[in-house]
Symmetry: C2
């Protein structure tokens, strides 16, 4: 490339987030599809290349892009490794192809091409001079000679425009007028777990069997096989660190704790240590290590909470008072959201003078737990710390440990949620819990999976959390839990439940979404086989997800027509269409709901008059459908959803060879 | 600003073209409205400022932006001068306002604020220390003292949250955590003629009175008052330079010219000179100067064609053979679009080795004509020269001569047309001639005036050109000319006709859009008062445009419902709503067309039950309308359009003071 000014215009490269300010996200094994508007003055034929490489490599790989229409070009490349990749676009007028095009037209018009053919030979000779490999040089020189020796114009043109000539010339392309797109774009390639996983949130201290006595990591170990059996991949623990004693909260967030109250695990730090220690009542760090190992054996993994809160007893308060905000009387400011006070929590000041010491200490916490086998961190309230800090932290961690994933627990305004995802969070909590009606779900899911957010924001759909027990669950009973489990697990490939969901626990503090007797402040002992649980149903859902690649993708969701306001109908197809899933869910947990749904048989290549099979993976029932419009009926006493695998009959008489004979 | 990392996120600043790569366009006197997404971690109250300045100035002006909703902020500034401006956004957490908010809430909750009030005094004292003006410092110190001396908490809070306190603190703001948007954006502010003008294209050589004899600049002078009377502002001349003799084209683009054929004025250059000379048969450069002066006296101006074509006789061919493309036999390549050949034209090679000499010579051509009083250049086929060249050229010219306007005659693919506008062309030709049906016109005009293009692409709507006589005009007769004149002049504030349009000339080479006996190759003598002309109609249109500010704006176009496929109904309102124009046009030049149109009375603040006046500015008729839906009828033998000015009755009984007494 040595043109002193850009010769080709390359614009609107997609995907690109905020003009390349932030990377897009993909998972290992993905194909990155890139498009760009590419054009040039005049009538030259263009060669357009997608350049890509692992970040850090100096050498670009090159893939030819193809013209779609209206100056839009498309190309793609594979991302195989869990690391960062880079891509950009290069374009160049191809003098040889333009010349081929010219002589073809002129020859057809019967014009004399003496001068043009001389020009062509000069182009080929110039290519031979550019060639670095002798074989290429020789072949091109031979081609030039052969062109000169052609017996007549027709033969010369035929040779000149032949694919062989083009191929030879492509071995020594003239890139002197090439233009490279002005930015290099990045892809963060995560392991597939970033996109496809079922999460199970549980408080370790509630895994015991004795009321009032803290469960331990050992109790967790015992519970693991049951969770594995339900089909979960990630076990997420709220903070496991020593809990502060000063201003400890009592049951239901009361201000004064009794002597046996365990306190909120979000008030981190005590005489027993801070963020790099474990709460003694749960066991030892060695117990934790054993639990991590056990998880790994079961092909599960542990996600830890990263909550940057310090109780007044946290070692940082003594060791680094300069990291906190101080009041004029010299005391440290506790957290507030006026008029609410959180006297058991001191926030850290990320803007403090020696902020880099603080930031590095935060990094060391993550590194500490990585060294103990943790590779997933669920970050508490990231929207109350600077976005610049997260970008710095996640970037630093993933440079050494690209396998580490971060989930942003930011329930805040939409633009901040997007900003955190752009800054590097692997996954994000969403508004899913508050989207219950058909228009709400449709609009929100289209925003997440079809718009610009799909490039960088992976919604992890929690059906409930320790803070959110939605009225739909409080009031809709067992069918409501099944509805929400179905939606969470099939709308998004990454989803989760917080324990108790499978038992349909639905007691809230009246008028709120808070659990009554929340585990945040109390130790809970549950009957894991209580009447009315939906463990079998959840097991089934997770099994279906695992068996069907279509449900493991994020941006392949499409909504289809259902002639009832309370029936949501949507589908997902595997990229190669080998797996076609249609989901019909009743959004009404109270009444029988029925109506027609319209299967996208056109998209699936099924003819209007063709019979095909809709196999309900929830019940095992098979239906023979014909045409797009088909009937469904849901009874809250039985099933509230169908998850259909759509199968064409594999053969017809005219698919056999003999049919054409 | 001294935070080592961005504390506030500033995104999605609008308007912004390709992330600030290109400037937006405005005209003198405009208000530039800017919006941005601005947010920060935590709960701080933000102060957001729009920074703006004339380019070259070091000092920013600051205008407060206001929160609309959902982290979206808006602000505006005026651009008074014909020059470039810059703008960007700055945001900062306002510690004092956040503190005010906090104490207000806590005081309402009955909390003790001893510590908070001490904090506040510290904030005020810190501001006093920051203050550079003694008066400000004194006032702040006084405020701190007064706050300390407040008799009780209520009085202290009242003083602290008072607007006076806020105003004082605003005199010495704490900008230590301010973040400035990462880019500085530009506005090209053109003179208003860039947006609002009526163009008239004519061949000077056709302004004579004797068949076969070239008209002259003096003949043009004589014709000026008639063109002025029709209401045109800009007279545009195709090239006026010496025409080459080698391979000169004959009538109707035939290959061989007769001895008296004048040739195509686009084959520029002969023994008499090149782009800085005038064709001798038109007169002298001095004649041209006098014509320019005459135009100025009539408050009109001349636009010249800038066609970078050289005839084989152009002085450049001799003086700068290195600027041209050569064939292997040493001859210069003429222009081709295989199998078509343009032997009378040599294109210049903008990529040649000493390309900067060539580029500078092109600049000197423009500068030459600027020195002769020309301020508007219509550029021929800019899409066959590098976009980078145009960006360089227009930027250089407008740096010294911001009053100079460039119109891009690029009839090419849409993305190239947009790229040229982004690169700096003041105005652009459009696809308007090929948009004749209601859906075509609606879709295209919405794209131009409502989408991102409105920021940088000003369509100059020519109703015809020497190259385009659309079938609609060829076949629709006089009513078709009136329809297209109405559309061009009311859909876009800048529009034009090519002479002969007002005479309804409609003879084409069969099967093409080319004029039969095109003026491009022949001298024409017209009867300017021939039967069936529409000069009065065009005069009326131009008069209406001049009298109604709503028709002088570009992006205020809105389409409204008309219950007929061949009635187009649209409106324009002045920014302050003082002038409301509704246009109803029949798109059918053959039949009587009638139906209902739906006036946007809601937008105009007219009640459903209120009578209002629709004053047809074309005929002078007045209609009394009530409600949105009203009847219109068009007869091709009479009028084919209404241009209504909508007037509410100025007063009702309850608009008078006594009504409320």
């Amino acid at each position: 490339m040595n043109s002193p000014f850009p010769t080709v215009i390359i614009e609107n490269v997609q995907p690109e987030i905020d003009h390349g300010r932030h990377p897009i996200k993909r998972e290992t094994g993905d194909t990155v599809r890139v498009s760009a508007d590419v054009f040039k003055d005049g009538h030259d034929i263009l060669m357009v290349f997608l350049l890509f490489r692992k970040k850090g490599s100096q050498k670009w790989n090159r893939a030819r892009m193809t013209l779609v229409n209206n100056d839009l070009w498309k190309g793609e490349f594979q991302v195989g490794e869990n690391t960062r990749y880079e891509y950009t676009v290069e374009a160049c007028p191809c003098v040889f192809r333009s010349w081929q095009h010219e002589i073809r037209k002129k020859h057809q018009a019967g014009q004399d091409l003496k001068s043009e053919l001389l020009e062509g030979r000069n182009l080929i000779r110039a290519a031979a001079q550019r060639a670095t490999a002798k074989a290429v040089r020789d072949a091109l020189e031979k081609l030039a000679k052969k062109l000169g020796a052609a017996p007549n114009q027709a033969a010369a043109v035929e040779l000149a425009v032949s694919p062989e000539s083009t191929d030879r010339m492509d071995c020594a392309p003239d890139r002197s007028l090439a233009t490279q797109y002005e930015r290099i774009l990045e892809v963060v390639v995560d392991r597939t777990c970033a996109r496809f996983a079922a999460w199970y949130e549980m408080f370790p201290r509630s895994q015991g069997k004795t009321a009032g006595k803290s469960g331990t990591f050992k109790d967790c170990e015992e519970h693991l096989p049951a969770i594995k059996a339900m089909g979960f991949d990630v076990i997420y623990f709220p903070p496991i660190h020593p809990i502060g004693k000063t201003h400890r909260k009592g049951p239901n967030n009361t201000l004064v704790a009794g002597p046996n109250d365990p306190g909120s695990c979000y008030a981190i730090g005590s005489g027993e240590g801070g963020h790099k220690a474990v709460e003694p009542s749960l066991g030892t760090l060695r117990d934790f290590d054993r639990l991590v190992k056990k998880c790994r054996e079961l092909d599960m993994e542990i996600a830890l909470d990263f909550a940057i809160n310090c109780s007044p007893d946290h070692p940082y308060v003594r060791e680094h008072p300069e990291w906190f905000n101080h009041r004029p009387d010299g005391t440290i400011k506790y957290a507030e959201n006026p008029p609410k006070k959180y006297q058991d929590i001191y926030p850290l000041n990320f803007h403090c003078e020696n902020y880099m010491d603080l930031w590095k200490e935060m990094q060391s916490i993550i590194e500490f737990w990585i060294s103990h086998g943790v590779k997933i961190f669920r970050v508490d309230n990231p929207h109350t710390k600077p976005v610049a800090f997260w970008e710095w932290l996640i970037g630093n961690i993933q440079k050494k440990n690209p396998e580490v994933l971060f989930l942003a627990e930011a329930f805040t305004r939409p633009k901040m949620m997007r900003a955190l995802a752009k800054a590097g969070f692997t996954q994000s909590y969403t508004y899913f819990t508050w989207r219950n009606s058909k228009p709400e779900l449709t609009e929100y899911l289209i925003e997440l999976t079809q718009g610009p957010m799909k490039e960088y924001f992976r919604g992890n759909f929690f059906a409930n959390t320790p803070d959110i027990l939605h009225a739909f669950l409080q009031e809709g009973g067992r069918p409501a839990f099944k509805i929400r489990a179905t939606l969470a697990s099939t709308l998004s490939p990454v989803y989760g439940i917080y324990s108790g969901f499978e038992l349909c626990e639905n007691k809230a503090i009246p008028g709120t979404e808070e659990y009554l007797h929340s585990e945040k402040y109390e130790i809970k002992v549950r009957d894991w086989n209580c009447a009315g649980h939906i463990k079998d149903y959840i097991t089934r859902l997770n099994h279906i997800r695992r068996e069907n690649p279509a449900l493991q993708e994020y941006d392949n969701l499409r909504f289809y027509r259902a002639d009832h306001d309370n029936i949501l109908f949507y589908g997902k197809a595997a990229p190669d269409k080998s797996n076609l899933i249609l989901v019909a869910v009743s959004l009404n947990p109270y009444q029988i709901t029925d109506g027609f749904v319209w299967a996208p048989i056109g998209e699936y290549g099924i003819r209007d008059d063709e019979a095909y099979q809709a196999h309900d993976l929830l019940t095992g029932h098979r239906y023979l459908w014909r045409g797009s419009r088909n009937y469904v009926r849901f009874d809250p006493r039985n099933e509230i959803a169908h998850i259909f695998r759509i199968c064409r009959w594999r053969k017809r008489e005219n698919d056999f060879d003999y049919y054409d004979m």
